[in-house]
């Protein structure tokens, strides 16, 4: 995962006095530390990193977050709001300083926009820009305007003073649903609007809130993004195919498939590959962490519907729901029998010894006989001249 190695810290010593009293809005210190330890675990980091994250999260030096909305359904924000351990609005509003959010901010109209500009000026070069939703580019980008400016202008403007840019959701990552054929508005992801800047993409429709929160906390704690893949997606969440982590993978490997919704196989929880699951070509961590904090299996495949590849530009909203996925298999598992594997038993020592003993006896007996034979021949051996 990450090369950060922080020494392990004893959790209790970090609690401080009165750990259960509300300290950050409704969050107690204990809750905050537990929450951040969980985030650290999601990213594969140690609990000490979790403590550092907690400290970064509540440090008075914490940077503000400016959150813009483009062509989107607000699903990503809704997803964020559905993390309940702890309530995230408390975290984002009381802990992190979510200074501007198109949806969550109470004010509206010119007042809200002025406040946004004021915050961007005040914290220039230090704030984190989060974009949610795609940016139209056709016809000058007029298909999404806020306060008279096109989304593209707004994104460029906000990105100028941003210390980091995070694009949450598939729409901000690569265009999302509005970019589906024929893409009438020319919708693109944020990184295509601001090509020079590093944009961390957290795709998904919506992504798990923890993918986003972990990325933000990591950024704040270590002042750099987590390890990203070639599409700018954090590898801790998007480094593996769903197919590699899916709890129904044994059914795929054993050839047990659901053929129709509601059939025997479907009811048994068999693999959904044959009804179009795009897990084999989609990178995400949905099977590992699920959604909604309601326990194991709380993700599409877990509930019995095939994955449609929402994080992938080539798959989500592009490939038909029930078309077969291209299985992006890596090297087959070692349990697969190989062509040309050696079979059958070789020479056992017992067998070799037995053959040797038997052979020796036969040769020995023959030699004995030979010795006894009178080679000169006797009278009876004299060639018969007559009958």
């Amino acid at each position: 995962m990450d090369a950060i190695r922080t020494p392990d810290i004893d959790f209790d010593t970090c609690l401080g006095p009165n750990p259960d009293a509300p300290a950050y809005g409704k969050l107690s210190r204990r809750d905050l530390l537990k929450f951040c330890a969980g985030i650290a675990a999601t990213m594969g980091l140690s609990s000490a990193a979790g403590v550092r994250m907690a400290e970064a999260a509540v440090s008075p030096v914490r940077p503000p977050v400016i959150w813009l909305h483009g062509q989107e359904c607000t699903g990503c924000t809704e997803s964020l709001l559905r993390s309940y351990h702890p309530t995230v609005e408390a975290l984002l509003l009381d802990v992190l300083s979510l200074d501007y959010h198109d949806t969550l901010c109470v004010g509206a109209g010119k007042q809200a926009l002025d406040y946004k500009h004021a915050m961007m000026e005040k914290h220039k070069g230090k704030y984190v820009l989060v974009t949610e939703g795609g940016t139209p580019t056709k016809d000058g980008g007029i298909y999404c305007k806020v306060g008279g400016k096109t989304q593209a202008e707004l994104v460029r403007e906000a990105a100028e003073g941003a210390a980091a840019v995070i694009a949450i959701g598939s729409c901000a990552s690569w265009g999302g649903i509005q970019s589906a054929d024929p893409n009438p508005t020319g919708a693109v992801g944020t990184h295509e609007v601001i090509p020079g800047k590093l944009v961390i993409n957290v795709p998904g429709c919506p992504p798990s809130p923890y993918n986003f929160i972990s990325t933000v906390l990591y950024l704040l704690t270590f002042n750099r993004p987590p390890v990203l893949d070639e599409l700018g997606r954090p590898k801790f969440a998007y480094g593996r195919l769903i197919h590699e982590n899916c709890e129904r993978r044994p059914h795929f490997d054993a050839g047990r498939f659901a053929l129709e919704f509601g059939d025997e196989g479907h009811r048994q929880g068999f693999c959904l590959y044959k009804i179009g699951c795009k897990g084999p070509e989609t990178y995400a961590n949905c099977p590992a962490i699920g959604f909604g904090d309601v326990g194991f299996g709380s993700w599409p495949v877990g509930t019995g519907h095939p994955c449609f590849g929402c994080t992938e530009k080539a798959t989500g909203f592009r490939k038909p729901l029930h078309a077969l996925a291209t299985v992006k298999t890596l090297t087959p598992p070692t349990a697969y029998p190989e062509v040309g594997a050696a079979e059958g038993r070789g020479v056992s020592t017992g067998a070799a010894v037995t053959v040797g003993v038997v052979g020796g006896l036969v040769v020995g007996g023959g030699a004995m006989l030979l010795k006894q034979m009178n080679d000169k021949g006797d009278a009876a051996d004299a060639p018969d001249k007559g009958a």
Binding site: R345, T354, A380
Partner: protein, 383 residues
């Protein structure tokens, strides 16, 4: 017609005790085979479904039993009546070679309880070489028992039955020459179904001829060896003079065999495989050297005259024929898939046990029934 007599020696000797012990060990493993299956006892596998039980006990075992057949050709086709004294011992070898070969077959068959399907016309599959081989071997086993029957009937004193059989013996002798010609050559034809699995060092359309002639050679070798061993061990008058005349025939026949084999090998352009330096090539050369060595001894007068050299040459030819079969069915075969085979200890002990049983029964019979003419000449038989 026979001047033979039972050999007056003890039935129980150190040798027969050892042979009996080996036989019992074999029976133990055979019992295991029937209780637990072939896989529990043998190293047979999907690449080598036939192992030494088929190749040695059946193919080589029956070739060793070709003494009667080989002698019958000499005596009755080429009118070599001088060799007649060797007939009964040769037939006895045939009786046990084929009967115990049949026993080994039942032990090896995977679904032995249905072997009678061979005799049901609605299961006949005449295109199969194995079909012809099976029926032929069954028929010949009956024939060789009938050919040997006079020795038994003499001992039992059932003279009328003996006379009856002897009146029709010419039919059985004719069958006794025809049937082995058919199935011993077909053992070679069996290999043709292997096509690309068998190395070109052995695979040829001449396989039937090579097999039947080498079976005849092995038959003669067994007769010569048996005569030498028995007369030597029991201190009987030697039959070497008779054998040395036979050995000239054997020598020339071996040369003919080698000529056919090599002409075909070179004609097919497969001779270069002999120099590949692998296991197949090595075994191929050992075969040829054994055949040639035996032939060489038998074609030189001093070789024929020497009892030791003749004994060694007969042993060499026997080994050559046996090795030829082992190579053609096992060593020369490259199965599909990466398989290897070497017999297990149990497999080896069963083969050793069956051969021991053959020798044991042979010894018992020559001591109980009038088989050996040298026994009567030695003056130890009854008047």
């Amino acid at each position: 017609m026979s001047n033979a007599a039972p050999l007056r020696r003890n039935l129980v000797t150190p040798l027969t005790v050892v042979l009996a012990a080996l036989t019992l060990i074999a029976f133990y493993f055979v019992a295991l085979r029937f209780i637990y299956g072939l896989g529990a006892v043998t190293n047979l596998n999907q690449g080598y479904p036939w192992g030494i039980w088929v190749v040695i006990d059946i193919f080589i075992g029956t070739a060793l039993g070709c003494g009667g057949f080989a002698m019958a050709i000499l005596v009755y086709v080429f009118n070599g009546t001088v060799y007649h004294p060797l007939m009964r011992p040769a037939l006895l070898g045939g009786v046990f070679g084929y009967t115990l070969g049949g026993l080994a077959l039942i032990v090896d068959l995977g679904r032995y309880w249905q072997v009678y399907n061979f005799l049901l016309p609605w299961h006949w599959q005449p295109n199969s070489i194995m079909f012809e081989v099976g029926l032929c071997m069954l028929a010949y086993t009956a024939v060789v028992w009938i050919e040997f029957a006079p020795a038994i009937l003499e001992r039992l004193g059932w003279i009328r039955l003996k006379r009856l059989i002897e009146r029709w013996m010419f039919v059985f002798i004719a069958l006794g020459i025809l049937l082995p010609l058919m199935h011993q050559s077909s053992f070679g034809t069996v290999l043709l179904a292997m096509s690309t699995k068998l190395s070109p060092l052995w695979l040829t359309v001449w396989l039937p001829l090579l097999f039947v002639v080498s079976a005849i050679l092995m038959g003669y070798s067994v007769v010569m060896l048996e005569a030498a061993v028995v007369t030597q061990s029991f201190d009987l008058p030697s039959e070497h003079q008779l054998l040395s005349r036979l050995s000239r025939v054997v020598g020339w026949l071996t040369v003919a065999w080698l000529v056919v084999r090599w002409a075909d090998l070179i004609g097919r352009g497969a001779a270069d495989l002999a120099f590949a330096g692998d296991l197949k090539a090595t075994m191929f050369w050992i075969e040829n050297v054994l055949f040639a060595g035996g032939a060489l001894v038998f074609l030189t007068p001093s070789g024929r005259a020497s009892r030791r050299a003749s004994f060694l040459a007969a042993a060499a030819l026997l080994a050559a024929g046996a090795l030829y079969r082992i190579d053609a069915f096992l060593v020369g075969v490259t199965p599909v898939g990466n398989w290897g085979y070497f017999p297990s200890v149990a497999e080896i002990m069963v083969t050793v046990g069956i051969i021991s049983f053959e020798i044991l029964l042979y010894l018992v019979v020559i001591k109980t029934f009038p088989v050996l003419e040298s026994a009567s000449r030695s003056g130890t038989a009854h008047a």
